[in-house]
Amino acid sequence: MKAKQRFFLAVVVLGLLMTGPFCVTSLLIWLDMQDKERAMLTELLLSRLPIGTMMTVFGFAIGVGVLNWLFKQYVEGLLRMAETLRLMLGANRNFRVNPEGPPEVQQLARAANDLAQQRNALMDDVDAQIAAAKASVEQEKNRLAALMSELAQAVVVCNLDGRILLYNNRARLQFKALAQGPTSASGGALIGLGRSIFSILEKSQVQHAQDVIRQRLASGKTAMANFITTLRGGQLLRVQMVPVLAGGEGGEGMSGYVLTVENITRNIEQEARRDQVLHSLTEGSRSALGNIRAAVTNVIDYPEMEPELRERFLKVVGDEVAAMSQRLDQTMAEFSDSMKTRWPLEDILGIDLVAAAQRRVEDKLGLPTKTEGMDDALWVKADSFSLVFALLYLAGKLQDHYEPRELRFRLSSEGRLAYLDLIWAGPAMSSETFYTWEMDPMQAGGESTPMSLRDVIDRHGGEIWYQREKAAHRAFFRFVLPVATPEAGQEEERVRGSGRPEYYDFDLFGSRDDSIDLDRKLSELTYTVFDTETTGLEPSNGDEIIQIGAARIVNNRILRQEVFNQLVDPEIPLKPESIPIHGISEDMVRGQPNIDIVLPAFHQFCEDTVLIAHNAAFDMRFLQLKEERTGIRFSQPVLDTLLLSAVVHPNQESHKLDVILERLGIVIDKRHNALEDAFATGEVFLKMIPLLEEKGIVTVRQALEAAEKTYFARVKY
């Protein structure tokens, strides 16, 4: 407020200047006068006092006006300019001072702009050089991360505190599949950069593995440790740990570790079932076999025994043999799946298999193919290479013998059996012909294999037969294959495909301890930046949240892959006038989880982070109103970009998000969707960190205190 004080001082001086000389002159004259003259003067003056005073006041007012104008133009104008100059210096160097006000100030502005231009050019040059240097390092990192992301194993890299530095897509899918919960983010929230691996894996087990590795390192053995861990819900994971060595001169120190994670629940279950079969067939038979053996030996060894006794021994044999046969049947029925051949079959989507076969048939044989009655959602267990080859082989045989114009594929299922049919129109074929086709080594499209069609079928534990559709004058080969239950997440993987997301941040290697410490630097903490869409602006009047969008900021970077984006059923009608603002309609929110379900998931998502929102008081009010009902408290510190903007730029009129974005030179394509707004708010916050630092605000505590002092902090919802 120094400028304000100077302004008042100037007004006082003006007042003194206007009245001072007159008063002093009057006083001197007055002292010089005789009594008579004084009386006369008093009379003269008093009668004209009003007009004199009026003139003085009028003059003073004009004077103050002029002073105020000058102040606004020069002092405040320059102050504003200084602020924008600071802005150019820090956050947005493309920002330019708008030349306004008196010509001198405009000249100054232009000069400043020119300087900024020159500085820009210099900085661009430096930036380009730095970028070039960085690029090669970055490229290395990217290559590594890309490699990781394409791996079929789930890989997670952690630092010694268990904070996640890297994870690949497979890991994301695997842990997502493990998580229970109705919302999109519950569980997906579990894995994330900077998050603790101990929310997924048992801390003591991980630490034990670390100890094992240290010991092995010390004794010069291959540093590796394995453990199997059980998760909530009884899933079994096999985890392999290898150390990330610190490198440098020190050498052997461990700075982190790589975990390869495999979900072995299914394997273990299958193995357990096989064991059971084996057990029931071996151990289960011992007793019965013992009885039979003893009885039979008696009968053989003592041929002269009484007929009645012999009868009894023979009955023992009869009974035991019958019981054994029955048990064998029972075992086969129960465990038929586990008894199948152990050729490794993969789970594959039926339509993918057919598409592959179609391509091969058309390429190799030039035979057109079509599909009909396709079950799109059917997964089968298959060795796709041999199966596709078998289909090609049959297609080739059909082409040679019956010259069909086209072939059709059909895919259906019945219980645990999948039917893949190869259909053609033509005359009936003899079963002998098909028998030779089945048993001969296969040859098709210039390739051959020692395997027969029968071998392929056996490998799948399946069957094949020839069948006629008399009415349609066509016939088909039916492949029977086992149906697969795909692991969750596989579907999604198909859709996602390529593109390497931000699943790594090696700069976290050194960082320690992610609990919130208010005295740590703003740039070091982990944040959750969020925004809500609501039915209206009055939380205390029954307005409800309809969407929560949030993203994490870790190590000064917004993680666009680790987001929380959830529509919420407000359980009250939407206000029609609000729909154009948030673009969310009734049918979008109906059937979504309600706030009682979403809030706990969101709470988990922002665990151990500082919250950030634009006009946070508004969003927090909504969350607080639900505290009692859901028992969920958001007790972490909250930073408000609106208040921080007022801290950084106290002389700017508007602190709306759009205006700030423009001021800080942030370009955002979409807005007014909770997640997009959360991203925008995050960008704003990241730009503000250096600006706050310029003002001496470095820690979270300082930021919170400064925000509290701004005018806007007093607005209540």
Binding site: T282, E283, R286, S287, A294, N298, Y302, F313
Partner: protein, 122 residues
């Protein structure tokens, strides 16, 4: 005087063979169908050797064996465990609990008889 043998098994289909065999060999034979009955018969019948099945209702063969070995008055009683459990861990357990021999089903009756005779002769 003929040696006494107690056959303990809940499965009549093996008991019939064992009983026949042992009688043919000239032993005096008694039969018990479960663990508790076995302990009672040991007291009344006073066998020299016991063919003891492991898997039985009420008291398992292991329990019977333990109880008998805890009784110093029965120190001379020979125990041959018969079992359908062939894993070596179970064999080790039977021997550890004080069985004198351990026979896994299915067994050769000839060998069993030979073994019983040999044990009683020693």
């Amino acid at each position: 005087m003929a040696k006494k043998i107690l056959i303990v098994d809940d499965e009549p289909n093996i008991v019939i063979s064992l009983e026949f065999l042992m009688k043919k060999e000239g032993f005096e034979v008694a039969v018990a169908g479960d663990g508790e009955e076995a302990l009672a018969k040991v007291a009344t019948f006073g066998p020299d050797l016991m063919l003891l099945d492991v898997m039985m209702p009420k008291k398992s063969g292991f329990e019977v064996c333990e109880a008998l070995r805890a009784d110093p008055a029965r120190a001379g009683l020979l125990i041959v465990m018969l079992t359908a459990k062939g894993r070596d861990t179970e064999v080790a357990k039977g021997i550890a609990l004080g069985a004198d021999a351990y026979v896994t089903k299915p067994f050769s009756t000839k060998e069993l008889v030979a073994k019983v005779k040999e044990m009683l002769a020693a």
